[in-house]
Symmetry: C2
Subunit: 298 residues, 2 copies
Amino acid sequence: MSAFDAYLPRQRERVDAALAAYFPADTPHPHRLVEAVRYSLLGGGKRIRPIVLLAACEAVGGDTARALPFACAVEMIHAYSLIHDDLPSMDDDDLRRGRPTSHVVFGEGLAILAGDALLSEAFHLLARTAERDPRPRRALRAMNEIAEAAGIHGMVGGQAADIAAQGSGTDLAMVEFIHVRKTGALLLAAVRAGALLGGAHAPTLKALTRYGERLGLVFQIADDILGAEAPASLTGKETGRDDILNKATFPAVIGLPAAKQRARELLEQALAALNRFDAQADPLRDIVRFVVGRACAP
Amino acid sequence: MSAFDAYLPRQRERVDAALAAYFPADTPHPHRLVEAVRYSLLGGGKRIRPIVLLAACEAVGGDTARALPFACAVEMIHAYSLIHDDLPSMDDDDLRRGRPTSHVVFGEGLAILAGDALLSEAFHLLARTAERDPRPRRALRAMNEIAEAAGIHGMVGGQAADIAAQGSGTDLAMVEFIHVRKTGALLLAAVRAGALLGGAHAPTLKALTRYGERLGLVFQIADDILGAEAPASLTGKETGRDDILNKATFPAVIGLPAAKQRARELLEQALAALNRFDAQADPLRDIVRFVVGRACAP
């Protein structure tokens, strides 16, 4: 067992505990909305985005305790996007992480509102964290990165392009366009926000940005590969679901072997971007190895 | 013609121009998403929330040019909430301001994303405005007020309670609970954010908070009265639509005469809260008179 095998669960527990505290089960009203929020936010998940934010902060010698609310906000934004992406008018998924999706359990209206609540509360958390900060400059830069990733040139734009591409023929450029926005933007923002909060200077931030770009893209390629190959027991989703929707994925456009080759190249590039860092960046190295390893077993 | 008759259109134009600039029509991609955002955001509307934010800033002697991005963010949050509230799984409205609603024109998926984009971009605008501010303390307080109003204890919670109350019997306490969150919270936040940005001190902020609370509640009562009485040509919505949905409204619970009486009382209380202010608060006085006057013609 490597040190990383302990690192991931430890950080995941830290994030899970903080997230649960933001939405107490006994919130009096509206109870059903809080239930829907908790169902999606606390129902498992690898917590890669918040952990990568904390790891980037650590890599530059920052205080991860101060970065924790930002890590949670990023995970809240991720959770909102999953709820909305799963809706009947979007990807129409009934299953997520092996459980019925939000709209199946709570109905469409409440599922939409649970997503809206998570997105709003993510920014509420960021705003009050920055407000309490005696020197909020770093917090504001981090918040701006996260907000931009969520917006029209990031996640929302990516999802709109993804929906538009469904059913029609697509090419590699369009797949990359979608992935960079839909998945890559928030992962990159997590890396950059963590680095900024940790006090990274320009050259360090630039190196971590290169890492974050590779991580964001390879994360989605690995997810595409898993979606095409892995049994539902591993992904918690129907195998070949992307195929049925005729979704824009790397394996669909360039084939499985080429997709795996591309993933391995991106892994090498991500690791190369970390050359200037010492052992403090080992969690970042391990995270990208973990992401690629799941999809491309050696 | 009073000075106010010129004030409203002038401020509205100012807000409209700023909003249009945030979402240029020639944004290359994803074009259809930008179109959906512009359709809802720039398709008319009284702009009461942003105007009230600017007026509150003015009332305390602040610089309204610095408050303009905050005013626009508040309107973007309002526009997102209308798009989502109109969805088939919520209020299922086909008509808004006399035009087909977003999901009728763009389909449900893109309508949800247009709302998500507006909410995300509102916070992106707030974050980058605060980041550029050399002394961001006031901006952060204002942002926090706005974020809280949007969230689970504000608009989203109010809409969830509203949906839950549909079809079931309801009482005055529940109607107030819903209205205070669904409509009141953002209006109050607009008043407080404007005051904070203008540099209001505690007693001034307290007085304006009293004003904002009354304005928020009377705004929704007036809307309920108009919805029950006014022809579709005035409201842009089907007359008696709230009745059909068996919605929680003041006229439904206490009757029209009592609802109008309550509106007049709240008007007096809102004006009384402004007693300490000179003519700089005249726009705030005129706004609440305008809101009540539309529903309760003398």
